[in-house]
Amino acid sequence: MNWISDWALPKISGLFKREVPENLWHKCPACEQMIFRRDLEAALHVCPHCGHHMRISAVRRLECTLDPGFSRIELPRAPADPLRFRDQRRYTERLKEAQAKSAMDDAVAVAHGTIEGQRAVVAAMEFAFMGGSMGAGVGEAIVTAAKLAVLQDAPLIVFTASGGARMQEGAISLMQMPRTVIATRLVKEAGLPFIVVMCDPTTGGVTASFAMLGDIHIAEPGALIGFAGARVIEQTVREKLPEGFQRAEYLLEHGILDLVVKRSEMRATLARVIGLLRVPLVEAATAPAAEVPALPAPEEPTEQPAQA
């Protein structure tokens, strides 16, 4: 402690400090253009320059999917650290850190509410929580979300974002695959739609269980979706991976997805899907029909009519 560190150094570094706060601008990880933070928020974290869909938090996902006034539900807690797992750090430490960072108990947030007026239960995965990995907590959340959907007679929509199984829970995490598959059965048996929206990234055990059993499969543009990791595949087959491999558009082309939908259109798309699956007949649009302008009278043919 002396005058240099207390007084002189802050003054000097102050001279070089930028005028604007650090977090006013955000650099797009794809095109590296600078985006004004407020614009980025307004664009739901999609780069206005290149259209890159950045990862967003589970809570943000709920906010931009459900109508205002939705309620998040509390999830049952799974036993923490059943294996007393320790790698270079303790699993309990990693969990605590993730919980503090994300203000969530585990990697899924569940809420119920409406989407453009139609009831829905939404589960959103949080990639920032240990890579969205699936352990008993995530399994429990998906099962709970499914039961809630059945109870409320509402469709279940899951936004996936996960690196796969949570290794720190060993075979317990593996067993979340059948467990979450059962959850999808509960929803389907109740005659309710199960809609999966795959976000970047969706891989491993999450893809190979509930994520691939949707009635409708939607993905965000550019999302990485697959079973095995790219590095493992490259090492196994010793081949260069094709351009766009395991990206949403690649999966769409290979028949694994129904739709690739931009984040800005996701809400409306989900509302349409639910409407078409759940509302068999809308009042024949009588009133608006009157307003539909009549076909303009055919103009005088200027050419010879085409032969039939």
């Binding site: 352990g135 893809t207 087959v237």
Partner: protein, 318 residues
């Protein structure tokens, strides 16, 4: 020629010495019966003490032992009148997953297994037991067929995992696994799965969402291979032994966690030292487990199976 694992070297040396002495005797040399007997006792007790305290990593090596009986051996030993069935009806037949109908102690059953092969040619043919989507789709098809005709399902799982390949991904590896898990959970017939060697992650659970899951004593069952886990969490594949310990992947561990239903003891020195006895013992165990299940109707079986899997991870702290 017996294949010895690294940690079995002292046993290998003793057994080599015994062999040498016996050859001397056969060649008309001095009678060394006493010495041979002494050495044999020593080898036996060394084998016993080694196998009594195998580390999880050593178990992983025993589980992958090249001489260990494979799915085909269990099918040949336990299933009469086996009729192999092939294909996913969409793209191909995948030899990594073998399946078919046959009779287990008189009862018609559907059999599934992941087969690794036992020499270079058969290993290539079976893709080292790593299935592609077609394999899981074949499994799903056969499980559904079993359901329609009331055939109990028996599966023999031994795989490092699903094949990580470009084409496999393009054809929906994840979807194929998910559907195969679903087919197992939905089957309205008794389903008994046995982890006979390596139960590698999603590729294993695809054939093991069963009413009863048996693990052989030295089999392993894990969400990721010890090597894979070590290279991710320790950033060093050489830490596989530490990772194997942490993953709790042995039969005892899984039984304690209530993730499998039974552990079948193996002959001293592992299943490969007496394949016939191992296969027969597994047959008896399967018969015992199957008997009460065949009494139950499809809806009950399915409901109980769901209940069992829904509990996994809820409790059961080691």
């Amino acid at each position: 020629m017996r294949h010895f694992l690294d940690f079995e070297k002292p046993i290998a040396e003793l057994e080599g010495k015994i062999e040498e002495l016996r050859r001397t005797t056969d060649a008309g040399g001095i009678d060394v019966a006493e010495e041979v007997g002494r050495l044999r006792d020593k080898a036996q007790s060394l084998l016993k003490s080694t196998y009594a305290k195998l580390t999880p990593w050593q178990k992983a090596q025993v589980a992958r032992h090249p001489d260990r009986p494979h799915a085909t051996d269990y099918i040949n030993g336990l299933i009469e009148d086996f009729l192999p069935l092939a294909g996913d009806r969409a793209f191909a037949d995948d030899a990594a997953v073998i399946g078919g109908m046959g009779r287990f102690r008189g009862r018609a059953v559907m059999v599934l297994g992941t087969e690794r092969g036992n020499d270079t040619e058969s290993r290539v043919k079976h893709n080292f037991g790593m299935a592609r989507p077609e394999g899981y789709r074949k499994a799903k098809r056969l499980m559904e067929l079993a359901g329609r005709f009331g055939l109990p399902i028996l599966s023999f799982v031994d795989t490092a995992g699903a094949f990580p390949g470009i084409e496999a991904e393009a054809r929906g590896q994840a979807e194929a696994i998910a559907r195969s898990i679903e087919a197992g959970l939905e089957a309205p017939v008794p389903f008994i799965a046995t982890i006979i060697g390596e139960g590698g992650s999603g590729g294993a659970i695809a054939l093991a969402a069963a009413d009863r899951v048996v693990m052989l004593e030295h089999a392993i069952y894990s969400v990721i291979s010890p090597e894979g886990c070590a290279s991710i969490l320790w950033r060093d594949a050489a830490q596989a032994s530490t990772a194997a310990e942490a993953l709790k992947l042995t039969a005892d561990d899984l039984r304690k966690l209530n993730l499998v239903d039974a552990v079948l003891p193996e002959p001293l020195g592992g299943a490969h030292r007496d394949a016939e006895a191992t296969i027969a013992a597994l047959g008896d165990r399967i018969a015992d487990l199957l008997e009460p299940l065949v009494e139950l109707d499809g809806a009950t079986l399915r409901a109980r199976r769901r209940e069992k899997f829904l509990e996994m991870g809820r409790s059961g702290v080691i």
